[in-house]
Assembly symmetry: C2
Homo-oligomer: 164 residues x 2
Amino acid sequence: MPVLPELLAANERYAADFTKGDLPMPPGRQVSVLVCMDARLHPEKFLGLDEGDAHVIRNAGGRASDDALRSLIISYKLLGTREFVVIHHTDCGMLTFTNDQLRGMLRDDLNADASGIDFLPFSDLDESVRQDVQTIRSSPLIPDDITVTGFVFDVKSGRLREVS
Amino acid sequence: MPVLPELLAANERYAADFTKGDLPMPPGRQVSVLVCMDARLHPEKFLGLDEGDAHVIRNAGGRASDDALRSLIISYKLLGTREFVVIHHTDCGMLTFTNDQLRGMLRDDLNADASGIDFLPFSDLDESVRQDVQTIRSSPLIPDDITVTGFVFDVKSGRLREVS
């Protein structure tokens, strides 16, 4: 059973009560958060963000990939954010596989070549946060006066723990 | 005034009432959504998603970048999603600049070379959705039985319009 019709019905209900149609494009709280795509994490909820408050960038792992840097550059340079927050989490899928394993699955199941793709898995959660914070801080395309702080979200407690 | 202390205070309140600590890692509704990072869009809210329901991938534009494909592959192959939904939106920042303009700003302000970066701006909103849906559908690393549907979210009305 496709879930899309249910999502569209929920959107109809959201739109029926919608009162946020006049918000400006730049994030009101001038912050951008980079968070894992994990389904258990709802960053707007666990950070108390309202519509219009913050850019939310998400990918597998919450990694500071080239594409996350692209988004962060657009965020501060064109839309005025001044703080970046990086959030990984406990029990992350990225701790459960290696590049070779995933490439092997794609080769066996789809006869597809993923040898050129780094899926960015990691084996040390805190270290992955520190690495990604450092990648952002050291980018020549991001000025030093933007603060970058890294956290781990605990999926058991819903609580953030600062790492770097 | 940094906003981070306010976000952490909000997280304390969230954790104090947290009751979702036993959710499994795979998304319960087996869906993955790719959405723009724009602050006005809260996809969990406008799609009726609860904690644990869906992967949420977000970047500047909601583009099907290589990194979004990396995340989508991990989403279906390791965590069992079966439907992908792509969501761009009206009044998007990606409609307001060109690569050359942003590269020039970074050169002038930071003396930094961004000539190798495609920031993935677009000039036709509906066409950008169609392109990204097509990029995902045609990837040899994503099987044909995963459905991919594209939408535009209207920031004035809060309503989704199907494009492709």
